[in-house]
């Protein structure tokens, strides 16, 4: 090829390339979803405008979007952290729900405490519960050879069943009549909104902070480096003496703890008690967010906001165009399939990256290249 490209542009191309599969996946998803709408004789452009409006069109829609994005950031970490060590964990829903339950019962079992201490205790309980639950999948994989994807999915179903049993049985507040719940959280302990003009709870801040911490952990810390060695090649990790089983377990526990924390905020800031409304699919959507972000914690923040927006626009689509509630689910499903399909491009991307990176070099720092 003899196209002249300035080195700076080539370097930029090399940097941006990892996002290419995701960008292409979004493009094909938009195309396929448009075909779907068109087949149902729905004005495509109008639907697109409505999705934008429902997601980011007003302060209210921004609030709605960010409210949904907050738990998604944390449940996405439940996929992304174990993914660093080479695991595909899809049981975040179970960890979120059990974490929420643990947070809901903590104030009932502890003496009265200042709110900030109680929040710490609730968060600790939720994270311990979530970490235990996902840690179980990691333990079963390393010790018993159980596939972690299937293991975590099945454990998630068990978690949901246990949750329902406890909320409708032993832990049910007798006062909750047609919506079985645990005893409501005292008002003093409920987590408030960031400001009166910006009606989003503090879970959003927690989500962003935890994602930033996760970024430092995986990109800059010794442990993060060890995780990626295990995820990249277990045999090499063993050869350099890394405690593979322990590292895998740690990523699972951290991921589960993040999902558990999401459950705590759902209880303390949204629901006010643990009840079936906690099973809202945040754990499942978190998988999609993590894959769209290619398990990069900073990209998770962006992807969680985008997906939160899509989910937030569902009710507007329903009201204005008479589309069923499941429409946004279809959109998410199509996106997920496309993300996985475009993953196949990764090998090529690697080669292009090297190519553009070398073009981005000035001749002075050029690479010695032979055979």
């Amino acid at each position: 090829m003899s196209i002249r490209i300035p080195p700076v542009a080539a370097r930029g191309l090399a940097l941006g390339l990892p996002a290419l599969p995701t960008v292409l996946a979004v493009a094909t998803t938009v195309l396929l979803f448009s075909v779907f709408l068109w087949a149902r004789e729905i004005p495509v452009l109008e639907a697109g405008a409505l999705i934008y409006q429902g997601a980011f069109g007003s302060t209210f829609s921004w609030e709605n979007t960010l409210l949904r994005a907050a738990p998604l950031m944390l449940t996405a970490l439940c996929v992304a952290l174990p993914a660093r060590a080479g695991l595909i964990i899809i049981g975040g829903e179970g960890a979120l729900v059990l974490g929420g339950l643990a947070a809901a019962v903590t104030p009932l079992w502890l003496p009265a405490l200042p709110a900030s201490l109680m929040w710490v205790a609730m968060a600790a309980a939720a994270m311990a519960m979530g970490g235990f639950w996902i840690g179980l999948s990691g333990w079963m994989r390393q010790r018993r050879g159980v596939n972690e994807t299937i293991g975590s999915l099945l454990l998630s179903y068990i978690a949901l069943a246990v949750f329902r049993h406890l909320v409708e049985g032993p832990l049910r507040d007798p006062a909750s009549l047609n919506k079985p719940s645990t005893a409501p959280l005292p008002d003093a302990y409920s987590v408030g909104v960031i400001s009166d003009t910006f009606y989003v709870h503090w879970g959003l801040v927690a989500g962003v902070v935890v994602c930033a911490l996760a970024h430092v952990l995986v990109r800059h810390s010794v442990s993060g480096f060890a995780f990626s060695i295990v995820g990249g090649n277990v045999r090499a990790a063993r050869m350099i003496g890394l405690p593979v089983n322990r590292l895998v377990l740690v990523t699972c526990v951290l991921g589960g703890a993040a999902a558990g924390l999401a459950g705590m905020f759902e209880v303390a800031a949204v629901q006010g008690s643990a009840n079936a409304a906690l099973i809202a699919g945040y754990g499942t959507s978190g998988i999609l967010v993590a894959f769209a972000a290619r398990h990069n914690p900073l990209a998770i923040i962006v992807c969680a906001i985008l997906l939160g927006g899509v989910e937030a626009s569902g009710s507007l689509l329903q009201r204005r165009l008479g589309l069923p509630d499941a429409t946004t689910l279809i959109l998410e499903g199509v996106l997920f399939v496309n993300l996985l399909a475009w993953e196949a491009l990764n090998g090529r991307v690697l080669h292009w990256r090297i190519h553009w990176r070398e073009r981005g070099r000035t001749p002075a720092e050029g690479v010695v290249q032979h055979g």
Binding site: S221, R235, A236, R357
Partner: protein
């Protein structure tokens, strides 16, 4: 004569900008064994892949029995009677000899009439110079027998020109001699012509009629084996005198010092849970290279994996410098245990990570490469990588490149740079030069000897007897998971070692 002659006229092939093969004209006379010699990357595989149609040539022509032919796909090569035996077996181990033969046909019938096929096979076997029972399961065949099956397959398919790709790399010296002797017999009887890729001069002088040498994609020379010498051939191959003549001095092993590596009664299972290493005990002293010889699949892989920490031993123990050793990171750092496993990309590197990161695998959690005990210092990693890349001549010299995009020799250089730069007390090495070119082999061997002379105890597991005879101070033979024989390398006898590698002694008693 049924054998084919084959000739290429200025055959060429490019991959992108890289000219892998350039103007090679080769003539294989009908009914002869023709050896194709060359370093790795000399273009031998490119040439034969073109001849069998797996990766057709881009220029030049092919003459089969003096008629110009196009070979664009394996089917076309097969139709002409050209076949290839690959370095690694391409037989289905779960099936019988007869089933393997029938299934190898390009046009197997929709319904196989086994009775008729068996009759035909029996008649075919009777005409062959060597036989295999058609009903035997292939999983029960020894390596030499599998290689014979590969050759029988070619004859059964009526191939009249057979290409052998390093046919003896998985055989004992005795098996190798037998198989190559058979091929030469068939060729001289006018049944087939043979083109044999090899890097063993002994096989060329003992079995080939003609020899052609390739270097860097071009033909360097071609002549009758009788008219040349090993020195002349290696000169053609290397473009200069072989480098391993510059022998590193080797001080004698101090027999009085305590061994730095001691393995006692080790038992280990293979992936299927079958015992692969049976109560193996051995010891290595500082400043000594102990070689373990054996045909592949006799427990070396499992033994290495246990020593590297990649596999759990069932029982037995390992001591390093007198202390029990479990392959933990602290122990490796404290006792200075390093290793060069075989297939470095699979065992010692993370393919998707950069060269710099791969160079940092041993030290990334040490003060030199991280701050405050937890923050990875990328600048220090890159600096270290730059120095090591230069010292070990890794090419391309780009620390940020993913290591899986480097050639095999350069991957091994990266691993060497990582494992041998720091002080080494114990070094565990397994087939370190497998598939590498001469220049890399010479460099690696020299580095191993240097490590030994600096006082490292080296355990060298290798399937290449020549390598062991050149490097080791003592040689142990492993057969069927047992250490069956042990000798000083200086007193070692190739035939004796071969007999133990094949397990002849074990069967006798």
């Amino acid at each position: 004569m049924r054998a084919l002659s084959l000739e290429t006229l200025s055959a060429g092939k490019s991959y992108g900008h890289f000219r892998a093969l350039d103007g090679v004209s080769l003539k294989v006379r009908a009914g002869t064994v023709h050896a194709l010699l060359g370093e790795n990357g000399a273009g031998k595989s490119t040439l034969v892949k073109g001849l069998v149609g797996y990766d057709p040539l881009d220029s030049g022509s092919i003459l089969v029995s003096d008629r110009e032919r196009q070979i664009r796909a394996p089917r076309e090569a097969h139709a002409l009677g050209i076949g290839m035996v690959y370095q690694h077996f391409t037989v289905a181990p779960g099936l019988s000899v007869a089933e393997n033969l029938v299934l190898s046909r390009d046009d197997p019938p929709l319904r196989i009439r086994w009775k008729a096929e068996r009759e035909r096979l029996r008649a075919f076997m009777d005409e062959m110079p060597f036989q295999l029972d058609p009903d035997r399961p292939v999983s029960g065949l020894a390596a030499g027998e599998k290689q014979k099956l590969e050759i029988l397959k070619q004859l059964y398919l009526q191939r009249r020109f057979i290409i052998l790709d390093e046919p003896t790399s998985v055989l004992t010296p005795q098996e190798a001699d037998e198989v190559l002797g058979l091929m030469r017999g068939l060729a001289h009887a006018g049944e087939v012509s043979v083109l044999m890729i090899t890097h063993k001069f002994r096989e060329v002088t003992a079995f080939a009629d003609d020899v052609t040498v390739l270097r860097k994609g071009a033909m360097v020379g071609s002549c009758a084996v009788a008219d040349t010498t090993v020195e002349a051939l290696s000169g053609w191959m290397m473009g200069r005198a072989p480098t391993h003549n510059t022998v590193v001095e080797r001080p004698p092993v101090n027999e009085k010092v305590e061994p730095c590596l001691r393995v006692t009664d080790m038992v280990a299972h293979n992936d299927k849970g079958v015992e692969a290493v049976h109560r193996v005990s051995l010891s290595v002293r500082p400043g000594e290279i102990v070689g373990i010889a054996g045909i592949s699949g006799n427990g070396q892989k499992e033994l290495t994996e246990v020593l590297l920490g990649q596999r759990q031993a069932e029982s037995g123990s390992v001591f390093i410098n007198g202390r029990p050793y479990h392959g933990r990171r602290e122990e490796m750092l404290r006792e200075k245990v390093h290793s060069l496993p075989e297939e470095p990309l699979r065992n010692a590197c993370i393919g998707t990570m950069s060269v710099a990161e791969n160079l940092a695998l041993r030290q990334f959690d040490q003060p030199a490469l991280c701050r405050w005990g937890w923050w990875i210092n990328r600048a220090a990693i890159d600096k270290q990588a730059g120095e090591r890349i230069e010292r070990f001549q890794v090419s391309p010299a780009d620390p940020a490149r993913p290591i899986q995009t480097l050639s095999g020799g350069n991957v091994q250089r990266v691993v060497l740079a990582r494992e041998l730069t720091e002080e080494v007390a114990v070094l565990i090495v397994s087939n370190p030069v497998f598939g590498l070119d001469f220049a890399s082999v010479a460099m690696i061997h020299q580095r191993l000897l240097e490590a030994r002379n600096r006082g490292a105890g080296v355990l060298l597991l290798s399937e290449d007897l020549d390598e062991l005879l050149e490097l080791a101070d003592r040689i142990l033979v492993i057969h069927d998971g047992h250490i069956s024989y042990q000798t000083r390398a200086a007193e070692a006898n190739r035939v004796e070692l071969g007999r133990h590698m094949a397990g002849v002694e074990a069967e006798a008693c």
